[in-house]
Symmetry: C2
């Protein structure tokens, strides 16, 4: 494990490429003596997991919370992003005095396997060729992401995580942690997620992948070694995906049919409507910080996620005999992972008599609500974690 010095430069593709191979954050290099056997049956001989930690691990190593990030997230959950220079993606949730209180808990946030912020992924150098992996990188699964995080927890000397928590794909990792390593997970908080990816969601991902692969600068995935970037394709993919993160109500409230700094329609293909300009901005800023091949691999991993199929088509079997305490959270206006998909998780957990609470948060912000200022979400997470921590005998913050 090495911690590289923190960079503080403005966003650029150069920084992004640098971060993929030389992360600003801490990282763990898992040696070839502990290869990762993937769900595809292929093997990663050695790999790196880049991660950030916040707070202090207590002597009993019993206060660790693993935060699993979503599709385009990273390890910078509560600290400045080295490429965009923006605050962490969940600073409202994680920090001193926040619901995930770093005065009480030790927070670990790894960049997922397949990611592009320092963990091994398609933008990393393939040791066999000395060039970026590109499409030679093996297709991975959510389960593989979790397995790649296990050595990190071992390395930190943690037998049992106090909690695994995450929203969206982070929620899938949370469920996979509980299903695969239940004895190492005291509590689990899957937020705005599902136990399998729906047909409609696969369809949206496929549109995004086709947009990337249609870009001639994608070059069959070899753009990095050829010094090119499929910016247009990735931007279109992000734009399409971004719509699914918002609710129609949120879009209507934010933008309606408002025109963009003009008094009348331009009768052209300019971004007349504010919503067009907003989407274009989402697309263009995204490509500055994200690797196109990582986008392909991670969306594929999500598509493949089906915890029931892994357990004889009976979701409850994934959690048989679990001692983990669960808190499942959904949002009323989330149409990417609607509440009924969280209910299916709750039903499966009930079927194995698991300890589970379920909260559907009233919000009109859509799937993105899990990242936003949602007091009911904060109160739910804070309450659940504090009650479970007290039960576990963890000191309250400031009672050191």
């Amino acid at each position: 494990m090495t911690t590289a010095p923190s960079l503080d430069i403005t966003a650029s593709a150069d920084t992004r490429v640098l971060e993929a191979t030389t992360p600003s954050s801490a990282y763990l290099d898992v040696p070839a003596s502990k290869p990762l056997r993937l769900d595809s049956q292929r093997q990663l001989a050695s790999y790196r997991i880049a991660y950030q930690t916040y707070g202090t691990l207590n002597g009993a190593k019993s206060n660790a919370i693993l935060v699993a990030h979503a599709l385009t997230g990273d390890q910078y959950v509560a600290s400045r992003h080295p490429v965009t220079n923006k605050p962490g993606w969940w600073e409202t949730m994680v920090g001193p005095g926040k619901p995930i209180d770093t005065d009480r808990f030790f927070v670990i946030c790894p960049n997922v396997l397949g990611g592009c912020m320092g963990s091994t992924g398609p933008a990393s150098i393939n040791p066999e060729t000395g060039k970026p992996w590109g499409l030679d990188f093996p297709v991975i699964t959510i389960g593989d992401m979790v397995e790649a995080q296990v050595p990190l927890i071992d390395h930190l000397g943690i037998d049992q995580l106090f909690c695994v928590i995450g929203g969206s794909m982070g929620g899938m990792q949370t469920l996979a942690w509980a299903a695969r390593h239940g004895d190492r997970v005291a509590t689990a908080v899957p937020v705005a997620t599902a136990a399998w990816h729906s047909s409609q969601n696969i369809a949206f991902h496929e549109v995004g992948r086709q947009a990337v692969m249609a870009d001639p600068n994608w070059c069959g995935g070899r753009y990095l070694e050829l010094g090119k970037e499929p910016r247009n394709g990735l931007a279109v993919a992000r734009m399409a995906a971004h719509i699914t993160y918002l609710s129609e109500e949120a879009l209507h409230r934010k933008f309606g049919r408002n025109l963009q700094e003009i008094s009348a329609k331009s009768f052209s293909f300019n971004a007349d409507f504010q919503v067009e300009s907003y989407l274009r901005h989402q697309g263009s800023t995204f490509v500055d910080r994200f690797d196109a091949n990582s986008y392909l691999y991670i969306t594929r991993a999500i598509d493949y996620f089906d915890l029931a199929a892994e357990h004889g088509d009976v979701l409850a079997n994934a959690f048989k005999g679990t001692k983990t305490r669960f808190c499942v959270v959904s949002f009323t206006s989330d149409w990417l992972y609607p509440t009924r998909e969280s209910r299916e998780i709750v039903h499966a957990l009930n079927a194995v008599a698991a300890n589970v609470s379920f909260v559907e948060v009233e919000s009109d912000k859509g799937h993105d609500a899990f990242l936003l200022d949602e007091p009911e979400l904060f109160a739910t997470i804070r309450g659940f974690l504090n009650a479970a921590a007290t039960k576990r005998g963890l000191k309250a913050a400031g009672k050191g």
Copy 2:
């Protein structure tokens, strides 16, 4: 007006380009003496409207139904498409003995202004340059589409249409006909539509346009004269749009997470899932029959549609004093134009004491339901038209 001989050849881009300039269907060339003043304040000096008719216009010219097509539709509502060689897009609805009974009614279906099946649009030749219009074609509106159809109705000697009917963008044209030329529309049937295009729908259109314009073969819109085709971009646009035409239930029922002719995941970016393969097919067949610039222009026209904004932000004002009888139809699972948007039309019509009936059809097929086998839809249209026709004194079919 000339009727070109019907072609019967297989689908190809060559045929498509030929149809844009030399339609197989009938067409009307509106001369420069009757220029079209567009909503943009630009003027089309002369233009062509390609159309098909079905059935026989009666002596009183009182049995004419104008069918307005949707975004990617055309005049081949009930006859073989000259490019794809497939049956008409609404053969379940239009024909002898069908709900829109061509034994009783005379059906006119024009290709919209801006379209690519023979009506003047960006793929037509700009008389000033002798080259395809491309992006020099003026940006048009739904209202412009309607105004371009008026000379056709005049040409056919019809004072008042018995009915204007259409789904989706066809429903918008229906509303615009009733709002602009109410005295020429006895009945109007807007199906699965809205009086304005929502923020979310503008967003989806913008993704599609960006996908087209990101394709280097789009060449700033000049691909036709350069002998290129933005196939990839247009296919991605179609894929994204296609998802919005279906309901999540329909996708789940049709495909679920079923794999495509393989027994297990391929751990690759192949179309493992049936839904991926289906979407790719939708994309690739679409580009054979549709012009990319037409897609830009027509989506823009839909985005611009806002019947309330045209009438002092009060939708009811669009229909003040109307004598047209309306039948508004929506579908329970349509999330592109949800029922509440049809209700807004109905409320506006009620506010001006219009004669309006409203039917929400129970269906899990999403927006596409209006094109599919929906017995309740058929019964609604048949019942409404027959009652109105009897009231108008039109003979029943076969009572010649």
